[in-house]
């Protein structure tokens, strides 16, 4: 069974169609990169998959492990095993980072009929992951993303992913705005999550993240649909020739 199966997905905001017919299949264990120029619909695709209510789906289907994803509320998708790493993680002053991590884990465990996570286990995973990501332990006691730098926010997203252990992780521009050290740390965090039972979709504008996280497939999104698919060499070609090359190819 496919992890994710998108067929002819058309979506947008109000009357503005942004996704104009996306088709994509992702199998368990695969890492897919979705690349494309600004405004091609990459973030819209990520947000629609996570269930953002500002977007309307006009046509098409999305199945996640055989279930109709579009029928589910955002929180149900999360509990079923989808994780969206935000391009712009939201600052929530007054909500403790640990509180959110625990509430998220336990919402999922409750959905699976499991007891709440043991506090000791929770801290163990949190500490290990934070050490790998080069995050200070004090982040656990701070407000969610409150006053975090761009790099700290992205590391925090990876921390949440590691603790939630999703079946499908969609990482939206997780590499943007990172210096080389942060990029490597985030890439390490992503690579550590690679698993035959887990799929990862990397949404990115640049090829540089793919130097550290090697994708099985690369897709190019342009004007709301996938115009070209290939292996990791496609990303290298894109880096050399620029997006105009695929745009021309698409309209030819």
């Amino acid at each position: 069974m496919n992890m994710l199966e998108i067929k002819n997905l058309k979506a947008g905001i109000g009357d503005t169609e942004i996704l104009t017919g996306v088709n994509l299949e992702v199998k368990p264990g695969e890492v897919h990169a979705i690349m494309g120029p600004n405004g091609s619909g990459k973030s819209t695709l990520a947000q629609v998959l996570a269930g953002h209510e500002d977007y309307d789906v006009y046509e098409g289907t999305v199945e996640f492990m055989g279930k109709n994803l579009l029928d589910l509320a955002p929180e149900e998708r999360a509990r079923e095993g989808i994780f969206l790493g935000f391009q712009y993680p939201v600052e929530i002053p007054g909500v403790n980072n640990t509180y959110l991590l625990k509430a998220a884990v336990n919402a999922k465990r409750k959905h699976q009929g499991l007891p709440e996570m043991d506090a000791f286990d929770f801290l163990k995973i949190a500490r290990e992951t934070m050490a790998m990501l080069g995050m200070d332990q004090s982040f656990l006691n701070r407000g969610v993303n409150e006053g975090f730098s761009g790099g700290e926010k992205k590391r925090n997203e990876i921390l949440q992913m590691a603790i939630l252990e999703p079946s499908l992780a969609i990482l939206d521009e997780t590499d943007s705005g990172l210096d080389i050290d942060a990029l490597k740390a985030v890439a390490n965090g992503v690579n550590a999550m690679r698993d035959p039972e887990r799929s990862i979709v990397l949404v990115t504008h640049y090829q540089r993240l793919l130097d550290y996280v090697e994708p099985d497939f690369v897709h190019v999104l342009s004007q709301g649909r996938i115009v070209r698919s290939g292996d990791k060499d496609l990303a290298v070609q894109l880096e050399e020739k620029g997006y105009d090359w695929v745009r021309e190819a698409a309209s030819a």
């Binding site: 929180e75 935000f86 929530i92 007054g94 909500v95 998220a104 919402a107 949440q160 939630l164």
Partner: protein, 428 residues
């Protein structure tokens, strides 16, 4: 005579009918003061959004029926507040001090704290009647508290004051006089609660005088029932380097009006006001604060937050007056509101009046809904919509809770806040 006024002949007859006691002279003097103005109406700028007509109606009925019979004998009362907040508790039931709880605190005299009942006598001049509701309070006053902290003295834990209106007396007056001596410190947790199903009105006045270097921390947690109406005035005068930290939490009551007034009369004083109000259904909560900076340098800071749902109506008016010559004044005020329903209404007005040159003043107010992107972020992590709403609402409120002046009431207050927030979001 307008419909929302107290009928003076009724008040006069009721005051005359009260059995003579040590407060008779206070009542007679106040009756004359009250006659000059009567209840404030919505024509007064300070009462524009808060009508006392229901209070006047109730007062007239009560004055006519059984004002003189109002005094009851308080008994021992245990509530969740007295059980959960570690404090020296005094119970004031229907405006009357419970002598038993008062007697238990006699040993505090060794720590320099003297506590007495106003029914045992009070200097007439010490009862302020300079606004109409204070005059009404004094005209019907039958008891109250006087707290005096001797110079340099402090208590091991806060003083708790449970204000219970049990429904048997429908109009009650409470007066508390506080005197904190030079370099002395006092912490008070005041918990107004009500019981019974009858409509009630409580009119309370607290007057505090802070000596040089004195500190008063005052936390008020108001959780009365929805048919309870109240007008509450807290005023404080601050001498050199005195510190007032006042927090009021209004979670209950159908109508609750607070006037919080601080007068900075000497340099180095610091006034810190924080408040949180939660209102749902048709609750009406009004906070009016005023800080007078008569001299500088001195500092005042103020933050009030409100969460409104249903058809609640709230009012915030925060005024700082920097008098001529009060150079070096530092004053800031803010008021933030979260509206969970489009039928709720807040009238907010931070005000600055500045007559001095060298000052640092700021003010601001916001009114808004929950941040949609934060809601989606939490939901994308598996929290359902109600839980995400609750988490964000609690976070909004926690900004005030984190500034709580008295540690001993933190846990109780946090759990009370949770309970009230749950109810507020559920109803919405």
């Amino acid at each position: 005579m307008s419909a929302d006024a107290v009928q003076h002949e009724l008040l006069e007859a009721a005051v005359t009918a009260l059995p003579p006691d040590k407060l008779s002279a206070v009542r007679r003097a106040a009756l004359a003061s009250f006659a000059a103005n009567g209840f404030p109406t919505t024509k007064h700028e300070d009462w524009k959004y808060t009508s006392l007509s229901a209070v006047a109606d109730l007062s007239n009925t009560w004055l006519q029926e059984n004002a003189a019979a109002g005094k009851t004998k308080p008994g021992a009362v245990d509530t969740e507040q007295t059980e959960q907040i570690d404090a020296h508790w005094i119970v004031i039931e229907n405006g009357v001090v419970d002598p038993q709880s008062l007697g238990k605190l006699d040993p505090l005299a060794k720590s320099g704290i003297t506590i007495s009942s106003l029914a045992d006598g009070v200097d007439e001049d010490s009862i302020a009647v300079d606004d109409p509701m204070s005059a009404f309070n004094a005209a019907l006053l039958r008891d109250g508290l006087r707290l005096t902290v001797a110079a340099g003295c402090t208590l091991d834990k806060p003083l708790g004051i449970l204000l219970l209106d049990d429904g048997s007396v429908r109009v009650t007056q409470t007066r508390i006089l506080i005197d904190v001596g030079e370099n002395a410190k006092l912490r008070i947790v005041e918990c107004p609660v009500s019981a019974g199903s009858a409509q009630q009105f409580a009119n309370s006045v607290t007057q505090a005088a802070l000596g040089t270097g004195a500190e008063l921390d005052f936390v008020r947690i108001q959780q009365r029932q929805k048919d309870h109406l109240s007008v509450n005035r807290f005023s404080a005068s601050l001498d050199r380097d005195a510190v007032l930290d006042y927090n009021n939490f209004d979670f209950g009551g159908g109508l609750a009006r607070n006037d919080i007034v601080a007068d900075i009369g000497a340099t180095g004083a610091f006034v810190n006001l924080h408040g949180l109000y939660l209102a749902s259904g048709r609750q009406h909560i009004d906070n009016h604060t005023r800080v007078d900076h008569r001299v500088g340098p001195a500092k005042s800071t103020e933050e009030y937050r409100g969460i409104l749902s249903g058809q609640a109506r709230c009012v915030f008016n925060g005024k700082a007056v920097v008098h001529d010559g009060a150079d070096g004044t530092d004053a800031d005020q803010s008021n933030h509101n979260l509206l969970l329903s489009d039928k709720a209404e807040i009238d907010t007005k931070p005000e600055l009046e500045i007559y001095a040159d060298d000052v640092k003043c700021s003010h601001g107010a916001t009114v808004g809904q929950l941040d949609k992107s934060a809601l989606f972020y939490l939901r994308s992590r598996g929290l359902d919509k109600d839980e995400a709403t609750q988490v964000l609402t609690r976070a909004f409120a926690s900004a005030i809770l984190s500034k709580l002046a008295i540690e001993q009431c933190h846990d109780y207050l946090a759990s009370a806040l949770d309970k009230h927030l749950d109810a507020l979001i559920e109803k919405d």
